[in-house]
């Protein structure tokens, strides 16, 4: 039987679906019976999603005039 600590240490891999089927089932069974771990796993999933979304492909990086000039000169 997995302990709560085991579940929490594996919560990120569980959230990333990087565990074996057996490990996933063992965590799922534990989480079904343990409110604390259920809360922790849900928080981990939420936090990971927010982190992932915060790295969205928006960017305010602008090419410097010097670099754009080098790129422009390459064409010639």
């Amino acid at each position: 039987m997995m302990t709560c600590r085991d579940v929490c240490e594996k919560a990120q891999d569980y959230s990333d679906k990087k565990l074996s089927r057996l490990s996933r089932v063992r965590i799922w069974l534990h989480v079904l019976m343990c409110n604390n771990c259920n809360n922790f796993v849900r928080q981990t999933k939420q936090a990971n999603l927010l982190i992932h979304q915060s790295f969205g492909k928006t960017s305010d990086s602008k090419v410097s005039p010097e670099l754009m000039a080098a790129f422009h000169n390459k064409k010639k």
Binding site: T3, N39, Q43, A47, I51, D60, K62, L67, K74
Partner: protein
């Protein structure tokens, strides 16, 4: 004891390994189209790829050279090298991985020149605050000491303590050790695999996972503290 000669040999080997992985991955159709536009001198395409990759490149360079100002310099030098070598790039490998391989090489060379070169590999017994806190959260039998409460649903738009969730997450990322912020960016923004990240940063895949675990757990705790 790692001598500078051994470190250099290891670094060259690892960059080659990273390039080999990028060859394995190959260039996607979108990348090939972008490469054609770049080779044709399309400034819009150059602005596009620059905006796309520059934030992660600065984070990786900063992790490798140890400070942000030098990291930005190295990134700029990398772009200059990319422009100079673009016509000789055949497009068999992924364009993104090719650019990151140049960056990692330049950052390592610069770190060695500045006497700042350091391996990012964690020692097996390295314990940080996160791991120690885990020791305090559970009893000897591995059960929770205090109950763990559920958050209310949090959305990016939700205001917490006068700040949007986004701002809290972004501030938390900026507070992370540089290598952890770089790994998060490579994984979440550039969609690189743990293996590609490990080869680029010259650390094991196991180490990538440990850094990733600590980074995410740190951010989860910051969010938890804001919500309470």
């Amino acid at each position: 004891m790692i001598t500078p000669a051994k470190a250099y040999a290891k670094s060259t080997l690892t960059v080659s390994r990273f390039c080999a992985y990028s060859l394995e991955r190959g260039a996607s159709m979108a990348e090939r189209a972008l490469l054609r536009r770049l080779k044709g001198g399309d400034e819009g395409a150059f602005g596009e790829i620059y905006g796309d990759l520059n934030p992660s490149m600065v984070r990786v360079a900063t992790a490798l050279v140890g400070n942000r100002a030098t990291g930005e310099e190295v990134t700029q030098d990398t772009w200059m090298a990319v422009v100079a070598k673009l016509d000789s790039f055949d497009g068999r490998a992924s364009l993104k991985n090719w650019i990151f391989a140049i960056l990692a090489n330049k950052a390592r060379t610069r770190a060695k020149q500045d006497g700042r070169f350091q391996h990012l590999e964690l020692q097996p017994d390295t314990k940080d605050q996160i791991t120690q806190d885990f020791d305090d959260m559970f009893n000897a039998a591995g059960n929770w000491i205090d109950p763990h409460v559920l958050w209310e649903e949090i959305t990016p738009e939700r205001i917490l303590g006068g700040k949007q969730t986004w701002d809290i997450v972004r501030d938390a990322i900026d507070q992370l050790p540089k290598v952890q912020a770089a790994i998060l960016s490579l994984l979440s923004r550039e969609k690189l695999s743990s293996r590609e990240i490990a080869a680029m940063l010259e650390i094991s895949e196991g180490n990538v996972r440990v850094h990733l675990f600590r980074a995410r757990e740190q951010i989860r705790r910051i969010l938890e503290a804001e919500i309470k």
